[in-house]
């Protein structure tokens, strides 16, 4: 056990960097979010308002963007979980000589630049892209399906990008499930399926939650992929914030949105950790 004083010393370097270059600038934006921006004139002097926050709750456009961002996060997390668990299971439990190969395969997409990967998806998913052309020529479709600049496109792109995070978290969790406990269930009369449902799945729950939080948080704050695969019209919170800051120069409204997103993220992490404590506390 490390003593508290030594513990503090060990985390001090990172804590200082985060405090100086992350926390301080973010907090400096807090007052900004209560200002009003007058185009071409800057902030109205001496005027403070809750208008920027109220607008997020009342404005239909913002409400839809928030709703869309959250559902996107949920869908991508679910997709990563469903696609990732079987792979993670094979990596954790399969033949040892497959382990290295599969792990490399899972990590491999992360070696490519984000923009390159997103362009790849555009080539594949466009109206005259590889997928549509193939399906049209095979006669499966009579007209191209819209796979880009909508939920489908953004979801495919984000799932692809964040799947490795989920898989790596799940592999660690599944490898932590004691084989003896599974064997005990089997000798007590559990079929292989029941062993999985009654023992392996609940005991890997901490990893499922950790992976889900990670993917969810990364998804709702992703900017490049939604911008490229969602186009200028299919907006999520991160792209709206970007536009407010960089296109409209309305830092006040951008800051308010950014804080709303941060608040949501923190709330979701807090909720999930409470859940994790209740589940994982038992293992």
């Amino acid at each position: 056990m490390i003593r508290a004083r030594h513990g503090l010393l060990l985390i001090a370097p990172l804590a200082l960097v985060l405090a100086g270059f992350f926390l301080a600038p973010v907090l400096m934006l807090l007052p900004t979010s209560f200002r009003e921006y007058v185009p071409a004139a800057g902030f109205r002097p001496g005027y403070w308002t809750l208008e920027n926050y109220l607008r997020i709750i009342t404005d239909d456009f913002y409400r839809e963007v928030i709703w869309r961002t959250l559902s996107l996060g949920l869908l991508v997390t679910l997709a990563c979980l469903v696609l990732g668990y079987p792979v993670a299971y094979v990596i954790a439990r399969g033949p040892p000589r497959w382990r290295m190969m599969l792990t490399l395969l899972v990590i491999f997409p992360m070696l490519l630049n984000l923009v390159v990967r997103s362009f790849g998806w555009i080539v594949l998913l466009a109206n005259r892209g590889l997928v549509n052309n193939l399906l049209l020529q095979l006669g499966v479709l009579s007209a191209p399906v819209k796979l880009l600049f909508n939920l489908t496109g953004v979801m495919i792109g984000l799932t692809h990008i964040y799947l490795p995070f989920m898989v790596l978290m799940l592999v660690a969790a599944i490898r932590n499930v004691p084989r003896d406990v599974e064997a005990a269930a089997a000798t007590l009369g559990s079929s292989r399926l029941h062993v999985f449902v009654a023992v392996t799945l609940p005991l890997s729950a901490p990893g499922i939650l950790a992976g889900s939080i990670l993917v969810f948080v990364l998804t709702i704050s992703a900017l490049v992929t939604p911008r490229m695969l969602g186009g200028p019209t299919y907006q999520v919170m991160a792209t709206v914030i970007y536009d407010e800051y960089m296109q409209l120069l309305d830092w006040a409204r951008g800051s308010a949105l950014a804080f709303a997103l941060t608040l949501m993220t923190v709330g979701i992490i807090a909720l999930s950790s409470a859940l994790t404590r209740r589940w994982a506390g038992m293992s």
Binding site: D180, V181, A183, A184, T187, S190, L203, M282
Partner: protein, 360 residues
């Protein structure tokens, strides 16, 4: 409850084989231990019986039913692990109920049988707790209750007591033995602890290198070992290097060093062969004074007191050192370093075998 029969069971994970052609029958209600050093194949046998490993050759029968190819969930066995392997996410009640629920038992019948089994292991009031809230001994009792609850045909134990401290282990040995006698459940117990195996079992099988060397009652294993390996593994041996000087039936005489010769009840090797001589510490009698006919002169060089027992190291003629062990309340306890003593070594406590053959 049923008997358990192994026929010509073999298993290898490469060379050499882990289990070689093992055949044995455990009668209905009998308690049999497999005892041996780590790597002797005893745990592999247990895992094959449980269905967690597949034998390369041979048959496993429970009663008259051939279960060799059955998956573990269709064998109706109870298995208690060294690591306890409790379900950490379930309460004690649900742990014990697990096997019953798999057998479609529910409602009042389930409650009754879980309560009954928990009472058997004296954990009546612990049903709502989680395993992590229990001590090691309590967790072990939950593991036993969980295995017992579905009334398995055969109960298997894989070194269940080796994670407990010494006092608790002794108490659990007695508790386990009483439980097994009450329920008359056929039991296969795997351990590397000879005291455990000897004190609890109806019969003990001593294993080495994948082979059951001797399967017999504890008294026979201790007093009448059929192989020198068994003799070297049971009790507290002095292990000395010697040469066979005379063969007479299964025994004879062995020479240790230049001046010491002992009668041995069992010798594996021809006259002139170099052998490891096993002399049981607890069989050597030590008294103050000069040696009489058939005794050995020596001098105490070290005395080691460990509570109930005391050990003395005696240097005999030719510099050979023998360790003798006795209850600390007897005359041996008053010996001091430097005392001249006489040793009597009964031939029934001396065995000789090919060098290092006793190693695992």
């Amino acid at each position: 409850m049923s008997s358990l029969t192994l026929k010509n069971l073999s298993k290898s994970f490469g060379e050499p084989p882990v289990v070689r052609d093992v055949s044995l029958t455990i009668e209905e209600g009998e308690f049999v231990s497999l005892l041996g050093p780590s790597g002797c194949g005893k745990t592999t046998i247990l895992r094959m019986v449980a269905g967690l490993a597949a034998p390369d050759r041979g048959l496993i029968l429970i009663g008259d039913e051939d279960v060799t190819r059955f998956p573990p969930n269709r064998r109706n066995l109870g298995l208690v692990f060294q690591s306890y392997a409790l379900f950490p996410h379930l309460t004690v009640f649900e742990n014990v109920a697990f096997g019953l629920r798999r057998r479609k038992i529910g409602g009042a019948e389930l409650d009754r049988r879980v309560a009954e089994t928990l009472a058997r292991v004296r954990l009546d009031s612990f049903g709502e707790r989680y395993p992590r809230q229990l001590s090691g001994g309590q967790q072990q009792r939950v593991a036993i209750a969980r295995a017992l609850a579905p009334q398995p045909r055969v109960l298997l134990f894989d070194e269940p007591l080796s994670n407990l401290d010494a006092q608790l282990r002794d108490a659990m040995q007695i508790e386990l033995k009483r439980l097994q006698r009450e329920l008359r459940v056929t039991t296969l117990f795997v351990t590397h602890d000879q005291a455990e195996a000897l004190s609890m079992s109806d019969r003990v099988g001593v294993m080495a290198r994948g082979v059951v060397q001797q399967l017999a009652a504890p008294e026979d294993i201790y007093h009448r070992p059929t192989t020198a390996f068994v003799a070297s593994f049971i009790g507290k041996p002095n292990r000395l290097s010697g040469v066979v000087s005379l063969r007479d039936g299964s025994g004879g005489r062995v020479r240790i060093g230049a001046e010491l010769e002992l009668a041995a009840i069992q010798i594996e090797g021809p006259v002139g062969a170099t052998v490891d001589v096993i002399v049981r510490q607890e069989a050597i009698a030590v008294r103050l004074g000069r040696a009489a006919q058939g005794e050995i002169d020596g001098r105490v060089v070290l005395r080691s007191f460990s509570g109930a027992r005391v050990q003395v190291v005696v240097r005999a003629a030719g510099g050979v050192e023998l360790i003798a062990e006795a209850p600390s309340s007897g005359a041996i306890a008053s010996l001091a370093v430097g005392d001249a003593v006489a040793l009597a070594v009964p031939s029934t406590a001396v065995f000789a075998m090919a060098p290092e053959a006793g190693g695992p």
